[in-house]
């Protein structure tokens, strides 16, 4: 296939996905509309995770800390310093970027299983600190961000992020940016180097690449995208809570990415969506919904070991990025 043809297909597909998501805002019933906004934000989190896990091949079990850094960075700056929405969001981003830089410098001294454990431990430290400093963070209870603090004023126009349509569009905007970042990254030279590190780090070094610096950059980009999702979650849904820093929120992005297809740009969205649909459907008719979710996951791993999109790409759609 010619390069031009492939470019056109790739951009066409991604734009079509964004267009469908835009259109869904006008047809989804209220309940699903709200759920979809949530899924879009969490899919952005999964995309952040995918950059590190899917492309660079580094399995972190502590990504909840980056999500929480963004969430608390945004939420606490509103609660304690009365910042406006844009500055609060930037504060969340900055917290995530800084935390991922520090964690990257420390955790990348290890690899493999040790890397998993070290990232998980750091995430636990953050989660427990959030509960310990309850005077600041609200502890177990978390903090509710009141509606007046969630109005975004941009150039004279006011957007109320508690309004369902505004919230959906803000979530979609975040998702689109995260998708654009992923797509640009994986098609860049840096992306190619990350894949090379995943495939054979020793060889990549011997081609003249500083693999540590490349991995560190991947941790920071991945952590910052995850933090952006966390900050958006706080602003769009008005709640900041320590459970988002817990180990569950480190495992979930891994599951979503595995389900949708690691190292595919659209896999994280698909994985998050499928997981929510299955959970939602199953829990509507049985209290044993976790059992059904479990069975679905096992079936997927058996028949789609590379995730949904990963398998499609391996069998039919080789051009998928």
């Amino acid at each position: 296939m010619s390069g031009e043809d492939r470019h056109a297909k790739i951009y066409g597909l991604h734009l079509a996905v964004l267009a469908v998501l835009f259109g869904l805002s006008f047809v989804l019933p209220a309940y699903y509309h709200g759920l979809m906004a949530r899924i879009l934000v969490l899919a952005a989190f999964a995309m952040g995770y995918n950059i590190l896990f899917g492309y660079a091949g580094l399995l972190s079990l502590g990504h909840a800390m980056f999500f929480a850094a963004g969430m608390y960075g945004a939420g606490l700056s509103i609660a304690h310093f009365g910042l406006g929405v844009p500055l609060a969001f930037l504060s969340g981003l900055a917290c995530g970027a800084l935390l991922s830089l520090v964690i990257g410098l420390l955790a990348l001294r290890t690899s493999g299983v040790a890397f998993m454990i070290v990232t998980m431990m750091f995430a636990q430290v953050l989660a427990l600190s959030l509960i310990y400093f309850a005077g600041w963070t609200g502890g177990d209870q978390g903090l509710v961000i009141p509606q007046p603090a969630r109005i975004l004023t941009l150039g004279g126009a006011a957007f109320d992020l508690t309004d369902p349509t505004v919230r959906y569009m803000a979530a979609l905007a975040l998702f689109a940016v995260a998708l654009a970042v992923t797509l640009a990254l994986v098609r860049s030279r840096h992306g190619r180097v990350l894949v090379a590190i995943r495939e054979n780090e020793e060889r990549t070094k011997m081609l003249g690449y500083d693999t540590f610096a490349n991995k560190l950059a991947a941790v920071v980009v991945s952590g910052t995208v995850s933090a952006a999702a966390g900050a958006a979650f706080a602003l769009l849904f008005g709640y900041v809570g320590a459970n988002f820093a817990g180990v569950q929120y480190s495992i979930l992005p891994l599951l979503w990415v595995l389900l949708g297809g690691a190292a595919t740009t659209l896999g994280p969205l698909l994985g998050t969506l499928v997981m929510y649909v299955v959970t939602d459907t199953a829990s509507s008719f049985t209290s044993a919904w976790l059992l059904i979710v479990g069975v679905v996951l096992i079936l997927l791993v058996l028949f789609f070991p590379k995730g949904i999109l990963g398998t499609l790409r391996a069998r039919w759609l080789g051009w998928l990025p």
Binding site: A196, E199, N200, M206, D210
Partner: protein
Amino acid sequence: MTPLLVTKGLTRRFGGLKAVDGVDFTLMPGEIRAVIGPNGAGKTTFVSMVCGRILPTSGMILFDGADITDMPPHRRVRLGIAYTFQITSVFPNLSVYDNVALPVQRTATVGQGVRASVMAALEKVGLAGRAAMQAGQLAYGHQRLLEVAMGLALKPRLLILDEPTQGLSDAEIENFVTLVRTVAEEATVLLIEHNMPLVMRLADRITVFDAGRVLAEGTPEQVRADAAVQAAYLGTGAGEAA
């Protein structure tokens, strides 16, 4: 003329074993140098220290007059030391093209000439027609050639080839000889090789390793005539050699 590569008293211990033991080695620019020796003589350990994959226990490495003993491997590659692995180490899940694009893109300017340089490197080893294939699906001999193409794409000043012809057919070896001679017009070649007829034809000078030390060094004729080499390496007593 400054030697391209000098090692002084280069030593590497693995536990009680001295894999490389006080090697003094000098390589002039433009040479094709072969390193030969029995299995376990320390050849691969020696070149691994030169390219930085293994750090020496003691001793010193100079590249073009500069001390690189403690330099991390990726910076040595940037200085112009390229190493092709003894055990084929391509990226099996990437295309042949991407395998070579990786070394090319590090030095190429954005958008310019990556494709041309990749195809030129593949052309040299005769793999241009297989650019779109997955590297892991290439025949073993072709993977060896891809490995060499990746080394060439780094535009090295010193190309280290660790048993490059292992697993190649006779016809492929012929192409390889031509290839190395072309490379040697622009780069210095350090070659570890077991195929003696090939070494005798290709090398300007030969260094013989045995038990971690340099046993002999000289032109192919000198080495062939050396009694100690015959005893250690060719496995014949000096007296029987005709």
